[in-house]
């Protein structure tokens, strides 16, 4: 198992580096301008006071963009960080097995004394490591920048928000990964996982104003990702069970089908 993880990470090293640099730049550019308007925060906030409900819902149900927590939420945690990490997660999740299956290298690995379960676990752990690395780089950057720009947000809530964001994107990676494990191509898996992510964002955002959307929203990961609540300390931590169960469910499904199915497209 260790050689597969080692060589998978070696193969992904440049891609992981590029994503890490991209996340660093994104966080830097998102936060660096805070000092220039933090003194005018109250006035700026006033201009968003009369937004229609639907627009407020799409913005995450909050019009607080300029308080320290509101700024960190709107610039980093509400959309952009989860979006960037989701793209990475789906891309990694859908390629780890599917690319090897398409290139017939999966058969090269399984021609050696390697059980399918071991291979699956090694690929899943490789994907987990890549996502964790980029997320940790993002977290460290946020933790380093917030005191420098005078963004007064507690260390613990930043850790918590990053953790829940990580769990959500990990669930998207798990969906993409399990789809390839059960035999979908890389393209199909990327598409389905992206639709689940995007639909989750739109439906969950609109669920606040369109009451019947509340029910479909409950089966989508984005519904359980509420960064403002986490940063404010009012998050219902039972929500992370959804992500954990979804990740476990995808893992079990992948294991169950991949052990038995025919390889090769």
């Amino acid at each position: 198992m260790i050689p597969i993880i080692k060589w998978t990470l070696w193969q992904q090293r440049w891609s992981t580096s590029r994503w890490s640099i991209g996340v660093l730049l994104f966080i830097f550019l998102s936060l660096i301008f805070y000092p220039s308007f933090k003194n005018d925060a109250a006035e700026l906030q006033q201009s968003f006071a009369n937004l229609p409900d639907a627009a407020v819902a799409l913005l995450g149900g909050s019009t607080d963009f300029f308080s320290p927590i509101g700024f960190l939420n709107s610039q980093i945690y509400f959309l952009m960080l989860p979006l960037i990490l989701t793209v990475l997660a789906i891309s990694v999740g859908s390629s780890l097995l599917a690319r090897e299956e398409k290139d017939s290298t999966l058969e090269v690995l399984l021609a050696r004394p390697v059980a399918r379960t071991q291979l699956l676990a090694a690929k899943a752990l490789s994907g987990f490591s890549i996502l964790l690395t980029v997320t940790l780089i993002a977290l460290i950057k946020i933790l380093l920048m917030t005191p420098l720009i005078g963004l007064d947000v507690g260390l613990v809530v930043i850790l918590q928000a990053t953790l829940v964001c990580f769990l959500m994107v990990l669930s998207f990676a798990s969906i993409a990964f399990s789809l390839t494990a059960i035999g979908y191509t890389r393209g199909a898996s990327t598409g389905i996982a992206a639709i689940i992510a995007l639909a989750g964002y739109i439906i969950s955002s609109l669920a606040g104003t369109v009451s019947w959307l509340e029910y479909p929203a409950r089966v989508l990961p984005f519904y359980y990702y509420q960064p403002e609540s986490i940063l404010l300390g009012s998050y219902n931590w039972a929500h992370i069970l959804f992500f954990i169960l979804l990740i476990i469910g995808c893992g079990v499904l992948s294991w169950f089908v991949f052990r038995r199915r025919d390889l090769g497209y």
Binding site: P3, I4, K6, W7, Q11, E100, D103, S104, T105, L106, E107, V108, L109, L110, A111, R112, P113, V114, A115, R260, R261, D262, L263, G264
Partner: protein, 303 residues
């Protein structure tokens, strides 16, 4: 007594999307120390058989054992003693040859660095270069090296010399002979008949997913029809020749005939003795002729 290297019983495979069987009731045994050639054109079921043996796909019916172990239930244990080469070997294009071989060695757990170096040298492989920069033949060399480098008890090779130049093909034949001398067995799928004739003890011919013949190379060539090219001084006695039992006229061009005959040659020479024959030469049949006979029969059946 050693368990057979491969024992396949009633193995069948029907792919989900297909209504026909890619492989139907295949039963065969490869004895310990034997080199078995598996012949057939593309789509006959050769790669399906190999993929079933390697547990990449699951059989619809039947089972297979390698060294007495079930290929599905004991897949991991089975692969400790196998060297496998796919018809289109999957290579990590961004790796160098050395990195690729390191990876394979780490997974195999058994290593023989001296033999690996020897293989690289004999096949004139370029292990420092990235695999994506190599030609088809040079990539194939790494496929061969990774299959042989741990000196497995059984080699399962699908179209092994594909892309290799004649010199390297000869090296490959030597490697097979050396493996056999070491006591290893091999199951070689091929449609290059001369290759099978050079390397194999026994040959199985597969047609439309079914094994149609299984004989030793010596036996199969002895039993085969002989080919004669005859030049007559005048019009060839076609009617008389057509009456000879077991004789088929393959070509007839002016005074020249090419015939194939199976069995007793006396009636043929009796006819020839009544005519002036300017030239007569014969060619001993090779596997290609035998193989084509099976497929010609099939085409005749379908017409």
């Amino acid at each position: 007594m050693d368990a057979p290297s491969i024992e396949i019983k009633n193995l069948s495979k029907q792919y989900d999307a297909s209504t026909t069987y890619a492989l139907k009731n295949l039963t065969l045994t490869v004895k310990a120390g034997e080199v078995y050639g598996f012949l057939g054109p593309n789509g006959a079921g050769k790669s399906t058989t190999i993929r079933l043996l390697m547990n990449f796909i699951r059989p619809t019916e039947g089972s297979a054992q390698i060294h007495g172990l079930d290929t599905q239930k004991d897949s991991v244990a089975v692969k400790q003693s196998i060297g496998y080469l796919a018809s289109d070997p999957g290579l990590y294009q961004e790796m160098t040859g050395n990195q690729y071989l390191d990876y394979m060695e780490e997974l195999q757990l058994t290593t023989n660095p001296t033999y690996r170096r020897e293989l690289i040298q004999r096949l004139r492989a370029e292990p420092q270069k990235r695999l994506r920069t190599l030609s088809r033949g040079n990539k194939q060399k790494f496929g061969i090296i990774q299959a042989f480098m741990h000196q497995p008890r059984l080699l399962i090779l699908d179209e092994p010399t594909s892309g290799l130049d004649p010199l390297m093909q000869e090296v490959f034949y030597e490697l097979i002979h050396e493996a056999k001398q070491r006591g290893a067995s091999a199951f070689i799928s091929s449609h290059i008949l001369s290759e099978v004739q050079k390397t194999c003890d026994r040959v199985g011919i597969i047609k439309s997913g079914q094994l149609v013949s299984e004989q030793s190379v010596t036996e199969i060539t002895h039993k085969a029809e002989q080919l004669f090219h005859i030049t007559f001084a005048s019009t060839p006695p076609v009617d008389q020749l057509n009456k000879v039992l077991g004789l088929h006229i393959i070509t007839h061009k002016g005074n020249e005939l090419t015939i194939k005959i199976h069995g007793d040659l006396a009636p043929l020479f009796s006819v020839l003795s009544e005519h002036t024959v300017l030239k007569l030469y014969t060619r001993h049949p090779d596997l290609e002729d035998i193989f084509m006979d099976f497929y010609r029969e099939d085409q005749e059946d379908t017409i």
